[in-house]
């Protein structure tokens, strides 16, 4: 498997670079090209069409990526590794459970790349060429439904419990 090499010390990344970063045989559906490092304000103004993000104070801030999709070269869109940034077992394992409940999914698993990196690789492989984004979306929606129901039940039970306690006091 081609390894992902760290970004060179470039201030602005072009789309071509994205291919270079991930090496041959990989394509990136979305890459956050705003990972500008060490760029001062003067340089920003000369790069009007660059992807850098400028905060209100005029100082460059790094726009952190949230979700990336990584696919092997030649693979269909049913086999995708999603990179979920700033996430761990909390979302990883619960989402994996929900996605694995889907009959369209052939494989689903996640791994934490390294303890010092706060991101997870979330892999989905589907049956019959269904885009992997669909089970991911369904998984997220199902998990939201579970949370809503648990919250609703919890708050109702707490209210009942308080009421009963109030009655017992009287």
């Amino acid at each position: 498997m081609p390894t992902i090499t760290p970004l060179a010390e470039k201030s602005v990344i072009s789309v071509d670079d994205v291919y270079n970063v991930f090496g041959e045989g990989w394509s990136v559906t979305r890459c956050y090209v705003a990972m500008v490092t060490g760029l001062n304000i003067g340089e920003t103004s000369s790069l009007s069409d660059s992807f850098s993000v400028t905060s209100m104070a005029g100082i460059d801030i790094e726009k952190k990526p949230v979700l990336e999709m990584v696919q092997a070269d030649g693979a269909d869109e049913g086999c995708v590794t999603f990179v979920l940034h700033e996430e761990d077992h909390t979302l990883g394992n619960s989402l994996r459970y929900m996605v694995m409940k889907n009959t369209e999914v052939e494989f689903c698993g996640y791994s934490i790349t390294h303890p010092s990196e706060s991101k997870i690789n979330f892999r989905i492989q589907t049956r019959g060429g269904l885009p992997a984004t669909e089970p991911l979306r369904k998984g997220l929606n199902d998990l939201t439904d579970v949370c809503k129901h648990v919250l609703h039940t919890f708050e109702a039970q707490i209210k009942d419990f308080r009421q009963q306690q109030g009655e017992a006091m009287e």
Partner: protein, 348 residues
């Protein structure tokens, strides 16, 4: 004596505590794993099977049963309670004077760990790089205290309590200094440390502390001082099945293998017969498996989807609010990725 469960049902629904290890640890209820079982996701079925009972609730502790949910999701709630529900804690300590024997950095660390009673939901996160802070993201506290001799102490006194004034610095000496409109907005909030009797430092006459602190909003993932719970944990409901009638001396010994109240002896035709009364109280010590004549007469297990949660708040927010907030955090995580997924697919 209970009828033994069907083999497949036991693998699916129970964790078995054996003599040399724990069996059937993992969830296996996925489609395609078991012929004759429909394991696809069905919200209606989930709602039908899901149950939540409050067992105990007081100011700072909460115990409740969550039944009919997978460990992956129950564990997510537990992890969020520990590390991702925000609170306010001392983050910046400005030491103008510290002549006490406790070093600046140690004192700053101690101050950071003091729970501060402020509702974090009313505040914003401070922007990275912002050193000043504003009324929407910062609570300012002041600790200004000087130790002196007690002029009224009797001549032969040797107790520091009588000899000195202000020689013990407690958390109650951390006084809130409102910024901007905070004095009006939080007039009734009674902002300050949750506990007033946390000893921060000891002084001797002439020593003084002059400190200003900034409390900011943060989460336990960043630093444990932001964790809103003293502890949040769950355990699975223990299940003890007696496979045969156990009576007499064996029954007495069986009773002593478990926590008090789990097994009781019943009088049946003049014989003492063991009966499982309340398996919930068991600690699952597996002591019974050390007795060769008893170990094959009982089956020890735990119910896979019955979670007994226990949440202990640090006193900043009530425990039931913490659980609600934790569930909201997981919902927010899902929503964040759903909207991100939409923008990714739109770009193509």
């Amino acid at each position: 004596m209970a009828v033994p469960m069907r083999n497949v049902d036991e693998i699916r629904d129970r964790v078995i505590l054996g003599e040399f290890g724990v069996k059937n640890v993992h969830s296996t209820d996925f489609p395609g794993n078991y012929p004759g079982y429909d394991d696809t996701w069905d919200l209606k079925r989930f709602k039908k099977n899901f149950r939540l009972d409050i067992v105990h609730l007081d100011e700072n502790t909460l115990e409740f049963d969550m039944v009919g949910i997978d460990a992956a999701i129950a564990n997510a709630f537990r992890r969020i309670l520990l590390a991702e529900v925000p609170t306010m804690a001392v983050e910046k300590v400005f030491i103008y004077n510290n002549t006490s024997i406790i070093q600046d950095e140690i004192l700053a660390h101690r101050l950071g760990l003091v729970p501060i009673k402020v509702d974090p939901r009313l505040f914003e996160y401070r922007n990275p790089g912002d050193e000043e802070g504003t009324e929407i993201d910062t609570i300012q506290l002041q600790l200004k205290i000087k130790c002196s001799r007690n002029p009224r102490a009797s001549k032969d006194a040797s107790d520091p309590k009588e000899l000195y004034l202000n020689h013990m610095v407690y958390s109650k000496d951390m006084k809130w200094v409102p910024i901007g409109n905070q004095a009006d907005v939080f007039a009734d909030a009674n902002i300050g440390p949750v506990h007033e009797d946390i000893l921060l430092a000891q002084l001797r006459p002439g020593q003084e502390l002059d400190i200003v602190m900034h409390c900011v909003k943060g989460i336990g993932k960043d630093h444990a001082k932001f964790s809103p719970v003293a502890t949040a944990s769950y355990r699975l409901l223990p299940e003890i099945t007696l496979l045969q009638t156990i009576e007499g001396e064996k029954a007495e010994r069986l009773k002593r293998c478990f926590s008090p109240g789990v097994i009781e002896l019943e009088d049946v035709d003049g014989k003492q017969v063991a009966k499982v009364v309340n398996s919930r109280l068991d600690t699952c010590s597996r002591e019974v498996l050390r007795h060769d004549d008893l170990k094959n007469l009982v089956k020890l297990g735990r119910v896979r989807d019955h979670f007994i949660f226990s949440v202990e708040s640090t006193g900043i927010l009530p425990p039931d609010v913490l659980v609600s907030e934790a569930i909201n955090v997981l919902t927010a995580k899902c929503q964040r990725f759903l909207s991100e997924l939409d923008s990714v697919t739109e770009m193509e």
